[in-house]
């Protein structure tokens, strides 16, 4: 009865203590101190190195420590039948929605322009866009995108959503698939990207797609860095076609010190903090999944291997 935990070294302690507390009788080991690989029955964490899971002959389940599981599928030797779960935590979902709302309001309320005017010491009233006419579009209509749209609805915006397969959401115009992408982007002033990263969504937001957004549109990405082609975003910001971007996720994290995003006047960066997985709210479902994995029962919040999310 051994659980193996792997996360960033600096936030391991709280997690392993909480797991040990809630799983009396279970030994919690921390990567890379694996011990005998045959002991490991359940893995919890981020980005186990490719090939490592294959080396645990008695592994019965893998719990991703976040909502996204693209890190799991980077392993070409991922054991075929291994049940995989992701975290779906209402606490974290609310955290994400608040980050999304901050950035939608930032752009809707012309805050970057007002920050610049303040820095210049200028008292200028800008023509204010109306919330009634503001078209916000959300890509990804799962837990996070659905929750963000629910909150956005209270603000009176014109809402749309895009997903791989068609969904119906009250008072939201929904689009789906490749053929829905152009009309969805063409009607979106503020684009919120909450897609999972899969082979189908990688580089989805390239120059051609970004150019479908109306002039002056804003891009908010809290999905994954690889959904967006950095150079294409920068080119569209520099040409004036796009009005700004707020980014929490990047192709490489931490973002390289010489990356153009850092100093770009139209780019707002947060260091992948939009919604942090917290031990206190996430551990109960992990504990339940440990129990289920060992009992051979279906996991909570299972990942579909075919869809990769």
């Amino acid at each position: 009865m051994v659980l193996l935990f792997k996360s960033d070294p600096d936030d391991t302690r709280g997690w392993t203590a909480e797991l040990a507390r809630r799983l009396p009788g279970v030994e919690v080991r921390t990567w890379p101190d694996v011990g005998d690989p045959a002991d490991i029955e359940f893995c919890v964490g981020w980005a186990f190195p490719p090939g490592s899971l294959r080396g645990f002959p008695n592994l019965k389940g893998l719990q991703s420590l976040g909502a996204g599981v693209d890190h799991v599928f980077r392993d070409p030797d991922l054991p075929e039948a291994l049940p995989i779960a992701r975290i779906v935590d209402p606490y974290m979902t609310e955290d994400m929605t608040q980050w999304v709302m901050l950035n939608v309001l930032r752009f809707h309320k012309q805050d970057p322009d007002y920050r610049r005017l303040q820095a210049e010491g200028r008292w200028d009233e800008l023509p204010p866009p109306s919330w009634r006419d503001r078209r916000v579009g959300v890509m990804g209509l799962g837990e996070l995108g659905g929750h963000a749209l629910e909150r956005l609805r209270y603000f009176g915006y014109k809402l749309a959503g895009w997903s791989r397969t068609k969904k119906r959401i009250d008072r939201v115009e929904t689009f789906a698939g490749e053929e829905g992408l152009r009309p969805f982007l063409a009607r979106t002033d503020i684009l919120v990207v909450l897609l999972p990263l899969t082979p189908e969504t990688e580089d989805l937001l390239n120059r051609e797609r970004l150019s479908r957004l109306p002039k002056g549109a804003f891009v908010i990405n809290a999905g994954r860095g690889r959904l967006l082609v950095d150079e294409d975003l920068i080119a569209m910001l520099d040409s004036g076609h796009l009005g700004g971007a707020a980014l929490d996720v990047f192709r490489q994290e931490p973002l390289a010190a010489d990356h153009a995003f850092w100093k770009h006047p139209k780019v707002v960066i947060t260091p992948h903090v939009s919604a942090l997985t917290r031990a206190e709210t996430a551990v109960p479902q992990i504990v339940e999944n440990y129990r289920r994995a060992l009992a051979g029962e279906p996991l909570l919040h299972p990942v579909d291997r075919r869809r990769r999310y």
Copy 2:
């Protein structure tokens, strides 16, 4: 049948055109082109100079162009029996709530710190405060404060409200009067000020009151500049007792070029644009109040002269 309009010179035209269109047969004059003072039956606007309204012998009503009417009571010669109305416009209320939400989220999500880290090219994750523990307090529980609290409720914060007289609001801890001020401030991490300016509220937020807020608290003011003592706010920001301020209103507007707020690293300024009165949404109630004033009926959204709001 003459209506006299007065606003900022640069946004007069849209208003007078819209008023004329909706009031066929009524002559709309624009300050200072008053013509014969005996013609004027209804005044609409901002800050008629002290004594000017007294000079219209047939004046039957005054419509303030905004939610606040402190500008009306600066006139010591205000005719005693003149009915006064303010604008209560759901469009404008929503605008204000969005400005409030932007600033609550700005401080809750540590955005000023993340802007500074971006400027320094630093990828640092700050310890994230939990929305479940965040204590937001709203001063002023009228149309604007009540609406802001309704929206804030969706975000899961711990909410409180303060007003002159005790009010009950679902899932909001309410405080009232002088004796409620200390406990209200002591439990508030993010203070939202939406009070009217009256002799009782002027300079309400001075050093003594601001010092009741917990260390690191934030102040958001969209009420009126004179509610807050500028030097006291700056002293509390500089001492580190307060974490930041977002201000849309100022004792003098436009804010003087040499005012310390402009360059203060903890102060976010917008130039009185949190909620603009728009002709298209506000004119219908003005038209109705014109009709009522001439018919001697009670106005919509009347101002209580004793309370001064």
